[in-house]
């Protein structure tokens, strides 16, 4: 250790930054170990932690595989030891509960029709909301994995989905998460509505993209808009990539646009099979393992642990 090498950046013993740990003057390995222990204790208490990932919005064009990614990420988060709340805002798509392996839950907004009944926010949906404040009636849960659905349009004449979106957005904004808790929102399809929904409350946007120029351009636009909302954590996941060479082309395209990606999935048969059967991916299946690995990489990028 030299003067340049003081872990706390002090010039010498007793100068600014010095905590008298004794690392610099240690003459023996024992003294060094003792000093390092003191230093560790100090750093453990004093080093600011990077802002952790709490609220993720999964975006992309319709049909690119948002629900697959959302469900696998949620399950992987849960197996890594996180308490996960999945927020389903895709009001026309009933697949998320199935992909999570959870029974469908009662919608937060029972009758999304503002013509007859004004859609008032439920009284529990206040600021500084804790996950446990969400009434059990609206949750579908298994262990530390939970699903809440903002609403479903079942009647084609039932009016506008805006009230559903507003409610989901309020939930996303109001949730105050503890360490070890995350929310993943499966957002509405497309780029048109970006910035008006749950993504407003997100700190991370993950765009799922297919190997098409359209899809990549959507990702690029979403990134631009996310930055406008002050969300700097933007990642892409490529889905339905036919082969490794195409994957390379795609990742080089993203690199060129300065868009970070977490990885790619192939044209996975099991995804299609489970989609048709309405069952979740097996945790031993390739697609799941790939997505779990992407989540781990994402956690590494944010210096977050795997508690389990």
């Amino acid at each position: 250790m030299g003067g340049f090498h003081c872990p706390l950046g002090a010039m010498a013993p007793g100068t600014e930054g010095c905590i008298h740990c004794g690392l610099c003057t240690a003459g023996t390995r024992e003294a060094y170990a003792k000093a390092a222990e003191k230093l560790r204790a100090y750093i453990r208490e004093n080093v600011p932690r990077p802002r952790r990932v709490e609220k993720i919005a999964v975006c992309g064009k319709g049909g690119v595989g948002k629900s697959t990614v959302t469900a696998a990420f949620a399950r992987a988060f849960s197996s890594l030891g996180y308490r996960v709340l999945v927020l389903d805002t895709d009001e026309s798509n009933p697949t998320l509960a199935r992909a999570l392996g959870l029974p469908p839950c009662e919608s937060m907004l029972k009758r999304p029709d503002s013509r007859f009944e004004p859609a008032e926010s439920p009284s529990w949906l206040r600021e500084d909301l804790d996950i446990s404040d969400i009434p059990a009636d609206y949750l579908s849960a298994a262990g530390n994995l939970m699903l809440v659905t903002a609403g479903k349009l079942e009647d084609p004449f039932a009016g506008c989905a805006c009230s559903i979106g507003a409610l989901a957005q309020l939930l996303m904004l109001n949730l105050e998460l503890q360490e070890g808790e995350v929310v993943i929102a499966d957002t509405e399809a497309g780029v048109e509505s970006f910035g008006r929904g749950v993504e407003r409350g997100a700190d991370t946007v993950i765009a799922v993209a297919e190997p098409s120029l359209d899809s990549l351009e959507v990702a690029e636009k979403v990134k631009y808009m996310a930055e406008g909302l002050g969300i700097s954590r933007f990642r892409t996941i490529l889905n339905k990539v036919p082969d490794e060479e195409t994957a390379e082309l795609l990742t080089e395209y993203l690199e060129g646009k300065d868009i970070r990606y977490l990885g790619w999935l192939g044209q996975e048969k099991e995804v299609v099979r489970h989609g048709l059967a309405g069952t979740p991916l097996d945790k031993t299946e390739d697609a799941y393992l790939k997505l779990e690995n992407m989540l781990k990489l994402f956690l590494d990028e944010n210096e977050m642990d795997y508690p389990l």
Binding site: G3, F4, G9, G14, I43, L299, E301, E303
Partner: protein, 365 residues
């Protein structure tokens, strides 16, 4: 490399028969016992004049206390101490002065300061480098430092951690926790060779230090303020820092940092390093240095023309070599610095993630 310096070797370094050393030099060398105790007093004798040594022995303390101990006026003592402080021989504190009790500190400060005494410093530099040669492996436990990849070589990869983003970590040090100083290792070497500090002097091909004001040494943390105020180290603006980073990202040096999640110290090492690292290379391999989490590989064999740039720029015992006309990376030797990747004129080499996050300890030490 042997563990004991012979008298003959010491005399060669000293430049003649070894003189008696006064008690003061032995006192000043006390804290330097971790390396070569028999050599340390001679290093001190080259650095300190006898009046300086006497005054330094009275420290820690104020000029008044030093004056009383040495039998000189307070004014004289103040002048003596102040001069020693700006020359990196002692430390200037808020309420007086203190001795530097660790040779690595001493070397860093002595050679990072801006004033040199020509021939006298040349001899001191030679001795210090010789002394340094015995430090590696003994004072630096394995994994104290870590290679940080060139940001350019990994920035697109999934899983890159914040402690692997050197440009961002440096930018986060702005405005007052960063300064450009002269590199003590390169300065020590330059002075040992020529008696003067030549920022443009570099021994190898990696640093291209000559293109940059004050070389490549970047001081981070609270010490940056000291370097700026006492040694006149340069405090860069954001634009100047970005320019420096751009230069380093593209040159042949590699980043090293403390082996932890938060940046506390960093270096830009290369084959033009004066002492520490050069000696580490010439020994069996960099000791005390943990590899990065990445590894170079030949991603595009069809683009590789076997030009050998990678082989020439690799600082880690030929971990990348041209074999049968193509680049070949030895995964055991590759330290994941990213230099070959950045330097490859055909963009044939890339980096891949090969180690998990817990390769980088959460805590230092």
């Amino acid at each position: 490399m042997g563990n004991v310096l012979t008298v003959k070797e010491m005399e060669a370094l000293w430049g003649g028969p070894l003189p008696e050393v006064e008690e003061e030099y032995r006192i000043l060398a006390e804290g330097f016992a971790a390396g070569r105790p028999e050599l340390a007093p001679y290093v001190m004798k080259k650095i300190f004049s006898y009046p300086e040594a006497k005054a330094a022995c009275a420290l820690p303390g104020t000029a008044k206390e030093a004056a009383a101990a040495c039998g000189i006026t307070e004014e004289e003592a103040e002048k003596l101490l102040e001069d020693m402080a700006v020359r990196g021989k002692i430390m200037k504190l808020a309420d007086g002065y203190d001795r530097i009790t660790n040779i690595a500190f001493m070397k860093d400060y002595y050679f990072a300061q801006a004033k040199f005494d020509g021939e006298k410093d040349r001899a001191a530099a030679r001795l210090m480098i010789a002394w340094d040669a015995f430090l590696p492996g003994r004072s630096v436990p394995d994994g104290t430092f870590r290679i940080v990849p060139k940001w350019k070589s990994v920035k697109a990869l999934p899983g890159v951690m914040p402690c692997e983003n050197m440009p961002q970590m440096l930018l986060d040090m702005l405005p007052d926790r960063i300064a450009f100083a002269r590199c003590p290792c390169r300065a020590a070497w330059s002075i040992a060779e020529t008696g003067e500090y030549h920022p443009e002097m570099f021994r190898g091909e990696t640093g291209e230090t000559g293109q940059q004001k004050d070389g490549l040494c970047i001081i981070v943390g609270p010490r940056a303020g000291y370097f700026a105020s006492v040694y006149g180290a340069y405090v860069p603006t954001r634009e100047e820092l970005l320019e420096k980073i751009e230069h380093i990202e593209n040159n042949g040096t590699y980043y090293t940092a403390n082996n932890g999640r938060m940046l506390m110290v960093m270096c830009n090492c290369g084959d033009d390093c004066g002492c520490g690292m050069r000696i580490l290379y010439e020994a069996e391999g960099p000791q005390g240095f943990s590899k990065s989490r990445f590894q170079a590989y030949l991603a595009k064999p069809e683009q590789c023309v076997g030009c050998g740039t990678c082989e020439r720029t690799c600082m880690f015992h030929a971990s990348v070599q041209v074999k049968e006309g193509k680049a070949f990376v030895d995964p055991d030797r590759c330290h994941g610095c990213g230099v070959c990747t950045v330097k490859c004129p055909r963009q044939a080499l890339k980096m891949k993630l090969v180690r998990p996050a817990d390769h980088i300890p959460k805590m230092p030490g």
